[in-house]
């Protein structure tokens, strides 16, 4: 048998063996070593080339190389095939029920009122307002007198007050921050633009819609030429940013001793989107905040010239907004801290 025939036989037998192999170990340890090893037939055959004629040598040599490559390729392919098979089997065995619940991760929740306050705060920060906080235990002077509510003013009855002494009280509103800020502001450094979120207190019996402790966000802009239309635009912007473009604002005349003109702002009812329902008592509007042009007495009381400077102020209640926005029906839920209630909000 010629060397070439010998190689052909090795080739055919080898490929057949590879084809029939069923495990990688056999291929590697038996077939590969047997065929391509140093003692294998190809090596042996190649060694026999030297016995051939000079003419035949390159032909047979390249033929031998080809056979070796074919076998190598077949080996590799078989090994890949078997590896893939093995992996697929393993993966199939590893299959899990992906519908089982995930491992619990400890997660706290923000308080929904805090979230609303943060949202409002961020909006006004973006418009260049500063954020200020004032004392919760306040002087009568700031809470009332400087806000144009002298002693015996009937509007004091609108806000039943927790007094600590005759002159010290739990602030009933965040409005004293108007007086405190106006008193300090240096208008040569630019306009006064601030919001002041915080806790306020009223001498109310706690029930579904009343809480002796709740929150307010005060807002105020004072400079030369601040107008009622600026107030309107600002409140519209606030509404659109906080609730969406579908919500409209309606301003109505109202009365606060520290603003003149005074308005109340209603927004489109959350429940019926303005059609009229029992939440909005059929009007399609929900009252959300009080506002107005700062009363000249308030400016004057704080040493600001009301002829030169004008300003607007507004006060809104995050508790009420949260109740409306999230359909909370009992204000006490915000302060009882039932984790089942709190963890509904993210």
């Amino acid at each position: 048998m010629s060397l070439k025939d010998e190689l052909s036989r090795i080739h055919d037998d080898g490929l057949k063996a590879i084809q029939n192999a069923t495990d990688i170990k056999t291929i590697r340890e038996n077939i590969k070593v047997k065929l391509l090893g140093k003692k294998g037939p190809i090596t042996k055959a190649l060694r026999g080339i030297k016995d051939l004629s000079v003419d035949e040598r390159p032909k047979v040599g390249s033929y031998a190389n080809k056979i070796r490559d074919d076998i190598q390729t077949a080996l590799d392919a078989k090994i890949s095939e078997l590896e893939a098979k093995k992996l697929n089997k393993q993966l199939a065995a590893e299959k899990i029920d992906v519908t089982l619940p995930g491992t619990p991760v400890a997660k706290g929740h923000p308080h929904v009122i805090q979230s609303i306050i943060d949202e409002i705060t961020d909006l006004f920060l973006g418009m260049g307002y500063e954020v200020l906080s004032g004392p919760e235990v306040e002087e009568d002077k700031y809470n009332f007198e400087m806000m144009n509510l002298p002693k015996n003013h009937p509007a004091r009855d609108m806000q039943d007050t927790f007094y600590i002494t005759d002159e010290i009280l739990m602030r009933t509103q965040t409005s004293p921050m108007q007086a405190r800020t106006l008193e300090k502001h240096d208008f040569s450094q630019g306009p006064l633009k601030m919001i002041s979120p915080g806790v306020v207190y009223r001498r109310d019996t706690d029930d579904q819609t009343h809480s002796h402790q709740f929150h307010q966000v005060e807002g105020m802009v004072v400079a030369e030429n601040i107008t009622m239309s600026d107030l309107k635009g600002t409140l519209e912007l606030l509404t659109h940013e906080l609730f969406g473009q579908k919500f409209n604002v309606r301003l109505r005349p109202s009365y606060f001793p520290f603003t003149e003109p005074s308005v109340e702002a209603d927004i489109t009812c959350f429940n019926c989107m303005g059609k009229g329902c029992n939440v909005c008592k059929g009007s399609g509007w929900i009252e959300v905040l009080g506002a107005g042009m700062i009363h000249p007495n308030v400016l004057r009381n704080a040493g600001v010239d009301p002829e030169k400077y004008t300003g607007f102020a507004f006060g809104l209640g995050p508790d009420r907004l949260a109740m409306l926005k999230y359909g909370v029906t009992d204000i006490r839920d915000f302060y009882l801290n039932d984790v089942r209630f709190l963890s509904q909000f993210n």
């Binding site: 920060l125 260049g128 007094y163 600590i164 009622m228 239309s229 309107k232």
Partner: protein
């Protein structure tokens, strides 16, 4: 105030649908609480005439009536009312009718006798029981004799009206009257007004001043006027007047009282009528009360007066709480023949205080508190006298006795068109502005845009230019004002460092599994003073509402424990909460305001995560809350070593499981287990918590955030396990290791601690992993071994440990 649309239409030619009117009022003047249609929901309620009646065969009080309701055959209706009588025109709810409260009336049998409907009293068809006149309170109502049989009843008793419920703000007391509201609507709709004025005939023979003497303290009553009417026949008022009253929510009483109430509704001027013969000395005196004086008021309350109260008195005794409520003994009764009619104004603050003190809030006090029109006090008196003279056949004696009159003048306010436009952001012309003032009934003088506006006395709320701006804004319409944003120098809007750190605190704690709670700052005296980190005097309310909320908190933990208790009482056992808020400290009793300090506290009870198929819930322990505290301190970036020192200084904390936390030697808070006794008091399961003075953490210097080069050279670690006395703390061991660890020791990590089986009593086994690294070179084993030996030796020397 309930405003009758029908009544209103007598004064101005309004035809808009009532809902539109209400919306307009709301957008332009005052809030509208709603529109009431008294006949809403009612059906098939008609005028009937009782043709005949028989006793019910099986009842001692029921009657079987044949009632003409305008149909071919009379309807047979069984009626149990005591006043049912043949010939009367009555209210019939037919078969298929809807009466009050949406109740349906059906043909039925009453004790065997067919009844084709129901004869009704006023309250049964929806008129509030509280305003139904006494004579009709127990029985069916008789309609006027000329009522047409078969007609709907509504128009006969004023139920076809529409009532607008105004919620009048304190500044708009002028709108607590029909005339005030009519003035307002005339301005809003730019309509002419058609008010009527009294045309009183003084048909008596005497001068009022011969009959009565009035003296007043004009600080209390700036206006005080009386008339005397004699030969008054006290009886029921005519139906039209009764209807006006009950539609306004006022119960008709008799023609004298009704006339005063009617005039109050019309002019906004509260009035009072006294029985002349009950007034000792035939005189009225307006004065402060004398302490201890007694007055029984119309509501039949006996009031003991204080010197600050204001009264109208006769020669001997108070006969009315001035501006609030009349006295019981001098009231007009059916036997009264001579009356004194009073029309006055009283000081709003004094009325308010008096009303508050005696908890008597009336239509009168409400109006005096908000002010009344000083210009129409006497007209109102005449108008009331005119009605009583007519309906009571009375003689009006000549002249008014006026004890005080402040002759209030119209207010003059100056402003300019440019100022108005500047404040409102509008560009109104002088014509537009002038027209608004004129519509309001203000006298206007304008020259080159400068305005002099004369405001009538009936608008006593207007004093300053800003008041006029509001009038212009609302009549022009807030909808018509442009929307702009403030244009001014750019300002920087950013959170302060404190605000940022407070936000970060919240984010960190929420990330660690705690939920944000907001508890009450006002708490009980006990809770306020628990878990105190420092000495402080408590800040207390002078008049608390309940013992649960008397004192300002000086800690946050007690509030959180209250929350935990609330949850556990509802079987919510895994509760992890934090609160960030203020506590209130006072160094001494005489400190005016407490110092408000930002704190943060947290509590964990039960497991942070619920039990799950692949995860067991774990009980909380000290180290869990300590871990959270560590995390918070690290995230807040405070510079300085953090140290935990065991403490038993907090009576409310577990004495063996509590540590004070120091940063760079400063006490900033504590962590630990809530004392089992306290947990028992709160009825809660074992709970761990921490509280920090957040303000201190905020104020502390912060670490620079600078990148450090990560060493290219590998680190080497060595483990050491040893037996040591139980009393030796981790802190002590770590300190020694660090001190003796050499220059290349970069980390000491406790990886095991064990006591019990196989460990001698009084000992524990602890194991640390020490990491060495040279930033500039590869560590050589030899160096590491040498350093490690030093540590081992030091531990043996210091704590007599046995290396394992």
């Amino acid at each position: 105030m309930l405003v009758s649309y029908k009544w209103l239409k007598e004064y101005l030619d309004l035809s808009v649908p009532v809902d539109q009117l209400a919306e307009k009022i709301e957008r332009t003047a005052v809030e509208v609480d709603g529109v009431v249609r008294p006949d809403a929901g009612l059906k098939k309620i008609v005028v009937g005439k009782i043709l005949s009646m028989e006793n019910h065969p099986d009842s001692d009080h029921l009657h079987v009536c044949q009632v003409d309701i305008g149909e071919d055959e009379p309807a047979q209706i069984v009626c149990g009312a005591p006043n049912v009588a043949v010939g009367k025109k009555v209210i019939v709810a037919e078969h298929g009718a809807r009466i009050a409260n949406n109740e349906k009336i059906k043909r039925s049998k009453m004790r065997g006798v067919v009844s084709n409907g129901m004869l009704c009293g006023l309250d049964e068809i929806g008129i509030d029981k509280n305003v139904v006149p006494k004579e009709w309170s127990n029985g069916i109502y008789f309609l006027p004799d000329d009522a047409k049989v078969g007609d709907d009843v509504y128009s006969y008793i004023g139920m076809d009206d529409e009532l607008i419920d105004l919620d009048v703000t304190p500044n708009r007391g002028d709108m607590l009257s029909m005339y005030g509201t009519a003035h307002e609507l005339a301005a809003i709709y730019d309509l002419p007004l058609n008010l009527d004025h009294p045309d009183l005939t003084e048909n008596g023979t005497k001068r009022t001043s011969e009959l009565i003497n009035a003296t007043v303290d004009d600080q209390i009553a700036p206006n005080f006027n009386v008339r005397v009417l004699t030969n008054v026949k006290v009886q029921s008022s005519p139906l039209w007047l009764q209807i006006r009253l009950w539609n306004a929510g006022i119960k008709p009483i008799n023609n004298v009282v009704d006339a005063t109430n009617y005039i109050m509704l019309k002019y906004g001027q509260p009035m009072h009528a006294y029985d002349y013969d009950k007034l000792s000395g035939h005189q009225l005196v307006v004065r402060q009360a004398k302490a201890g004086e007694q007055l029984k008021t119309l509501n039949e309350n006996d009031n003991e007066l204080v010197a600050d109260d204001i009264v109208v008195a006769d020669a001997d005794k108070p006969v009315a709480l001035a501006g609030v409520m009349g006295g019981f003994d001098s009231q007009v009764t059916n036997d009264t023949t001579t009356i004194v009619l009073e029309s006055a104004t009283f000081d709003s603050v004094k009325v308010r205080k008096t009303a508050q003190r005696h908890l008597i809030h009336t239509d009168a006090s409400q109006r005096f508190e908000r002010g009344v029109d000083h210009a129409s006090v006497r007209e109102a008196l005449d108008a009331a006298a005119e009605i009583i003279a007519k309906d009571g056949n009375a003689e009006v004696q000549s002249e008014i006795v006026t004890a005080s009159d402040d002759h209030l003048e119209p207010t003059v306010v100056r402003t300019s068109a440019s100022r108005i436009n500047q404040v409102l952001g509008t560009s109104l012309t002088t014509d537009e502005i002038s027209s608004i003032f004129e519509r309001l009934g203000f006298k206007v003088a304008e020259f080159n845009g400068d305005y002099t506006v004369t405001v009538p006395v009936r608008r006593w709320d207007i004093h300053i230019p800003a008041d006029l701006f509001e009038e212009v804004a609302r009549i022009y319409g807030y909808d018509n004002i442009p929307s702009t944003l403030p244009l001014s120098r750019t300002t920087v809007g950013r959170l302060t460092e404190k605000q940022s750190l407070i936000r970060k605190t919240r984010a960190v704690l929420e990330g660690a599994g705690l939920t944000h709670a907001i508890s009450y700052s006002l708490t009980s005296a006990d809770k306020a003073a628990s878990f105190m980190m420092r000495d402080s005097v408590a800040t207390e309310l002078s008049f608390p509402m309940s013992s649960d909320h008397t004192t300002l908190r000086m800690n946050l933990l007690s509030g959180l424990l209250t929350d935990v208790a609330y949850n556990q009482a509802r079987s919510v056992n895994n509760v992890a909460l934090y609160e960030q808020g203020r506590v209130f400290y006072k160094d001494a009793d005489d400190q005016v305001r407490p110092t408000e300090v930002e704190h943060v506290a947290g509590t964990i009870t039960g497991s942070l995560t619920a039990d799950a198929w692949d995860h067991r819930a774990t009980e909380p322990d000290f180290y869990q809350v300590k871990g959270i505290a560590d995390l918070l301190l690290a995230e807040l970036n405070v510079a300085g070593d953090v140290e935990y020192q065991a403490t038993d200084q907090y009576p409310d904390m577990h004495p063996g499981r509590t540590a004070n936390v120091y940063v760079h030697g400063h006490l900033v808070g504590f962590v630990g287990q809530i004392h089992p006794n306290i947990a028992k008091q709160y009825k809660i399961k074992p709970t761990y918590g921490f509280e920090f003075d957040l303000q201190k953490l905020i104020d502390m210097p912060k670490q620079d955030q600078q990148a450090k080069v990560i060493s290219k050279y590998p680190s080497v670690s060595r483990d050491i396990a040893m037996l040591v006395d139980k009393t030796v703390t981790n802190h002590q061991i770590v300190e020694v290791i660090k001190k003796r660890g050499g220059a290349f020791l970069t980390n000491v990590h406790l990886f095991d601690i064990f006591e019990g089986k196989g460990i001698p009593a009084g000992k524990k086994s602890v194991a640390y992993s020490l990491t060495y690294q040279n930033k500039h070179d590869t560590m050589v084993d030899d160096d590491v071994n040498k350093a490690f030996e030093k540590v081992t030796k030091a531990l043996q020397d210091e704590f007599n440990v046995t290396i394992r």
